[in-house]
């Protein structure tokens, strides 16, 4: 699973003070620069004698990888970037032609298809073959197969970090110790060997302190959606906000700077009671406040988003913006207990939560963000997210009394995005919310 940044261009807003526009553009430009620079760093890594690591978004050990000077690649991000640029469809079909099943996760196939076509990355630069695959399969079994497939092809060194699932809805000491031991006995020695850099725990502590700054600001940004109107969209905009945090930047000064600029910008929007910025400019009327479960569709990202903001729907909270770490319930990287903290970070990612926890989280969001209901975007590719979502829908409706709706699409396979279908479902969902409001208002006057 993962994240990223569709870089919504704010439309010119006549009459708005210049300061806020500049700030907005600052955050956006910063992020764009960061992403491009990371792709370039990857492209030239081997030329400048740098080793390259690849790892997944949920449970990514970015601070640790930085301790070994790795250039850092995240294959899910590559896949979604290719999805946004409408390149993934061909990659997926190429992988299927090579014998990969049409039934399995399309992120994997987009990645394998990209390799087949010569590893040309989303920005057009050739991506290197990783020197080490850091296989943390937090929250999803597919990750394990994904890197086994990459290893089969490139014979890369692979190190596994098994993160146990929170089946009982809690993190036990046994789980933490298991992850810590793997870090000490497997992951760190492998990273030392591949990179030739000795592990320095103080360096890790420093990166973690930096992470905390950014984490604080990210939480403030995400929670700003509790305001009315919400100054952000916590799903479509949210993927832009989580970008640096969930990828190669957590723990860097650039990320801290990005989040502090972003936070300033959002707080300014709160003060001005402004709605979120969409690709077509500011959303001026907030009619519906939704919580969304499930990843977005990347190949038609803008069209999908438009179906919301055109009707005045803003997503106030999403579970997807927690795949690379759940920070809004208090977790922060802890420089005083670095390895335990890495373990707890991995164990706490959204898809590593059990079903009752996921449902609790959604109900809590509906309550705390005063949402009108839940929308599930069910992803064909992704069993980790999707299996059981229909029960989730019924449970959330039962517990909150708020209407829930279900649409289906895929992450990066354009064949599974049916705009008309989704649009219809959303329209009837909005009607449902209106009916519910009328009924509640009616009941209130009847008393």
């Amino acid at each position: 699973m993962t994240t990223n940044q569709p870089t919504p261009k704010p439309a010119a807003q006549p009459g708005k003070p210049a300061a806020s526009q500049v700030q907005k553009e600052d955050a956006m430009w910063l992020q764009k620069e960061m992403i491009n620079k990371n792709y370039h760093d990857l492209a030239v890594a081997h030329d400048v004698g740098r080793k390259v690591s690849a790892t997944f978004v949920p449970g990514n050990l970015n601070e640790l990888l930085m301790c070994f000077d790795f250039a850092r690649s995240l294959p899910e991000t590559n896949a979604l970037q290719n999805g946004l640029r409408k390149k993934s469809g061909k990659m997926i079909m190429d992988a299927e032609r090579e014998g990969h099943s049409e039934d399995v996760c399309t992120y994997v196939k987009a990645d394998l298809g990209m390799m087949q076509a010569g590893q040309i990355g989303p920005t057009g630069e050739k991506l290197p073959v990783p020197d080490v695959l850091v296989l943390s399969y937090t929250g999803c079994f597919t990750f394990m197969k994904w890197f086994e497939l990459v290893r089969q092809k490139y014979d890369c060194e692979t190190t596994m970090l098994h993160v146990p699932y929170q089946g009982d809805g809690k993190i036990s000491e046994n789980m933490v110790q298991y992850v810590v031991k793997q870090l000490k006995e497997e992951v760190i020695p492998t990273l030392e060997r591949v990179s030739g850099v000795k592990f320095d725990i103080d360096r890790l502590r420093e990166y973690m302190k930096e992470s905390v700054n950014a984490e604080e600001d990210l939480v403030a940004v995400l929670q700003s959606a509790k305001n009315r109107p919400s100054p952000i969209d916590g799903y479509f905009g949210g993927v832009y906000y989580i970008g640096p945090m969930f990828t190669a930047f957590r723990g860097t000064p650039e990320a801290s700077k990005f989040y502090s600029v972003l936070r300033g910008e959002i707080e300014e929007r709160v003060r001005r009671k402004q709605g979120p910025i969409t690709p077509d400019g500011e959303m001026t009327e907030e009619k519906y406040r939704l919580v969304v479960e499930g990843p977005p569709n990347w190949t038609s990202f803008r069209d999908f988003w438009k179906m919301f903001y055109e009707d005045g729907a803003v997503v106030v909270a999403s579970t997807y913006s927690k795949v690379g770490g759940v920070y809004d319930f208090g977790f922060r990287h802890d420089a005083d207990h670095p390895l335990e903290s890495l373990a707890r970070y991995c164990l706490g990612c959204y898809t590593n939560l059990n079903f009752p926890q996921r449902i609790d989280m959604i109900c809590k969001y509906i309550d705390e963000y005063q949402a009108d209901g839940l929308l599930i975007n069910s992803i064909k590719s992704c069993n980790s997210f999707s299996a059981g979502q229909l029960l989730m829908l019924r449970e959330v409706e039962k517990r909150t009394g708020k209407p829930a709706a279900f649409v289906e699409s895929d992450l990066v396979d354009p064949r599974y995005f049916s705009a008309a279908n989704i649009k219809n479902r959303l329209e009837s969902y909005f009607q449902m919310i209106n009916q519910k409001r009328r009924a509640t208002a009616g009941a209130a006057t009847a008393h």
Partner: protein, 388 residues
Amino acid sequence: MSLKEVVGRCEALFEDLHFKSVRDWKAAAPGRKAIGFMPIYVPREIIHAAGMLPVGIFGGGDQIEVIQGDAYYQSYICRIPRSTIELGVTGRLDGLDGMLFPSICDVIRNLSGMWQIMFKDKYVRYFDVPQNFKDGVGGEYYVHEMEILRDDLAKLAGREVTDDDLRNSIRVYNDNRKAVRDLYAYRAQKPWQAPTSEVYLVVRAGMVLPPEEHTTLVREYIAAAESENRPRRDNARVVLTGSFCEQPPLGLIKSIEMAGCYIVDDDFHLVTRWHLQDVEVDGNPLWNLSKSFLHRSADTPSKYTERREDKGRFLVESVRKSGAEGVVFAAASFCDPALLERPMLLEVLDKHGIPYTAFKFAENTGQMAPIREQAGTFADSIKLWSAA
């Protein structure tokens, strides 16, 4: 018992999706309890040591119409979770006092949480197994997880589960595993005497019978099969793989055989053959189970392959040991572990010059003709190939 009687009994157990045999077993003595588990593997010894009956739940096959279960799953998710829910919501699993969901894939994993919500009065546990195979790392973690299970079941049973209870259960299951291994060896040797359509039922009976009783039944089957004189055909010998979780309908297994294949090894009911050798009895029982799991257990897509060169080795060895001439890769539709593993396995088979064919099924697949045709063509090509 005659062959017909043994097979008849197994067939009746297979078809009984109300699990009457489990209910009868429980009713035979006060306080008895039964714990269900899903594929692929749980340490049944711990359940048995608590005086309980481990019951393998392998979905509803093609024998029940899934009505309510479909309301829980999108079309792009495999069949077994929905038919298992169907079994649950229609009361067919009421005889179970708990359910274990092993870490096989995201679908079963999520089902564990759904079960917690849907069957609140039952014991439910997601049972994680290590993907790190060092004793001091994965082993320690695993022993601890087994201790939790042991304590939970002791509480449920209202009595302690001692090390001696566990040692005794390990012994019982070693006997059972030996019997199943013998049965597999016998079938590999004389597949015409022990067709897979029967062997499947005999092993499946072990999912509901107490292990002691099942061991006797397996032995009876081998003896009865040996006493028959069945015609030997010029069939192709194949290993069937990919069906470790959702099960193909029995009709599909029959179709493959009728198309001219002898299935001489498979990955059905892997729990019965998970430990490749006897588990050590003396010493700390949980550590013995752990060591056997880490160092001497079967390979399957849900288990991490630490070294690239080991990928597919288990399958290639199975082909070699069973004297197979080819591999039939039969995976459930939408089964991520099986289907993501498939290209890697096929590449290894290619390297070893082992022919294969691959198809997908669903537990309620009704149309056998295309599969029979594919298996038939495959069998013919193997025969031609080996004649050349």
